[in-house]
Symmetry: C2
Subunit: 304 residues, 2 copies
């Protein structure tokens, strides 16, 4: 059971106002798995190239993370370089080298197929579709990006029809829906079938909307200094779905309140990710740090 | 006692994705006074031209608003035209005609000088300074804008030294402080003397910071449709300071919790302002509507 995630593992070079980190481990599933691993067991499905040595995935080797579904294939690992503007909510991509990711046709290991929660990180919708067909999850969630909205819209629509939860950046939701207002834009998603929408707003926090009309929103946790926002969205998703999976495992059901709490956990994990280059911040945080931050986030958003 | 505000009354022409409104009453004190009037008595100090007829201020004539400090002077009333982009957080100014505002040297009526709260709406810092010298308020607050930060920075600094509360848009705070991070930017304000900073983030809500290190944040109330964001910031300030003044009058003191609640009221009033062109939405809302919205805002941001 537990949480299965499919997405990219990559090698990133990152330049921000605080400095730079070159050729560090990244990719959506790396951030997602580390964030979610504080709550539940995470099964990772991805692809890398034979250019990575045996130690390259060391940061992901934790008790709660099963990396056996990360398949090495002849060729280069996905590589990405990006430079952030000073306000950190905007960045420019310096290069994207797909490498072996271009041939990624995931075969989900048998032991990962039956899970509480499945997360389809940002990937071509056809790959997301293939993974959905191979798995049986109680809750299915996906992320996507502007590139797929523009180039593979109909495929994306077909995948959206099959998931319960869409986790998406605010501007990409607006682009997908062709509507500025969040509630109006949300209807374009709910009309396809999902009943939970999570909207990521970078340093402005996130919102949860349901097909039943519920609305909940929380701030981003205000960190002292944003070092590197890479992976904040995937770490947010990991905190959100990790907590949801944990609750599903322990209580057997998910209520609206669980999703609200999960939004706060997402905010906490997204903020931690920004406090160091690449995945580095995850080396020093404990479950207690997360609990402290969650309580702190409640204090700064709730009138007692 | 109660609340005295000094700022502009103007005639606006507004173009948004929802339509347009030409030559309607506007200006910072109009929005501010209407929003604050639900909580306390508001004394308005401003200037208009003799081009406005006797009925032009009809929308401001409410039991709780004293407009006797709005002085008509030979010439034209301040006029502003603006067009909003589709996302409503950005606009372009089509024209600004200062008219009599260029000669505004306010003489605060004797009966307005002793007040619980003074709000210096966005004006040239020298005029704000002159008003501060004429009044005796328990709490003094100011707003400002990029134009004064660029063209009259030293004057603005001198005025900031004399107030307790700075209410400012996020990008303008960053510009003033030369720092991206909100907490770092806040220090540039606190170092001058104010101990409360309220940061307006448009449709992303607002944050309250104190010199003692407290931090609190709330979402903007998510309205079904934004018709016209003109005056949202001043209506926010009116809801915020109106509630603070009401609490000062009734309890004699202000605690941190009062400011947090005031932030939510500010958010509610700012959202109402966006639901109609110009000041029109204030014609149909009651104190009960505000209480409902406040409760609603708590529901969507607090985990019960």
């Amino acid at each position: 059971m537990s949480l299965t995630v499919v997405g990219t593992v990559g090698v990133d070079s990152i330049y921000t106002a605080s400095g730079s980190a070159e050729n560090v481990l990244g990719g959506s599933v790396s951030y997602f798995a580390l964030a979610a691993s504080y709550f539940t067991h995470v099964n990772v499905v991805s692809i890398i190239g034979t250019d990575l040595d045996a130690n390259a995935l060391a940061q992901l080797r934790r008790t709660n993370i099963d990396t056996s579904g990360i398949t090495p294939v002849q060729g280069s690992t996905f590589r990405w370089g990006g430079r952030y503007h000073e306000d950190m909510n905007h960045r420019e991509t310096l290069y994207t080298e797909l490498g072996t990711l271009a041939e990624f046709q995931p075969v989900v290991p048998e032991k990962f197929r039956d899970c509480d929660v499945l997360f389809l990180a940002n990937l071509t919708p056809l790959v997301q579709f293939s993974v959905l067909k191979q798995t049986k999850a109680r809750l299915r969630a996906l992320d996507t990006m502007n590139f797929w909205i523009e180039s593979a819209r109909q495929d994306l629509v077909e995948v959206m029809r099959l998931v319960d939860i869409v986790i998406i950046a605010e501007d990409e939701l607006r682009q997908f829906a062709g509507a500025q207002n969040l509630r109006s834009a949300a209807r374009a998603v709910f009309d396809l079938g999902p009943n939970i929408l999570v909207v990521k707003m970078g340093s402005y926090g996130s919102a949860l909307l349901t097909a039943a009309g519920d609305y909940f929103t929380t701030a981003a946790f205000p960190i002292a200094e944003a070092i590197d926002p890479t992976g904040a969205g995937d770490s947010f998703a990991g905190g959100f779905l990790g907590y949801v999976a944990e609750q599903l495992e322990t209580t057997g059901e998910i209520q609206l309140k669980t999703f609200k709490q999960a939004l706060l956990y997402g905010s906490c994990l997204g903020a931690f990710a920004c406090e160091g280059f690449g995945l580095s911040r995850f080396e020093s945080i404990s479950k207690t740090d997360i609990a402290d931050r969650y309580r702190n986030l409640q204090e700064i958003t709730h009138i007692q």
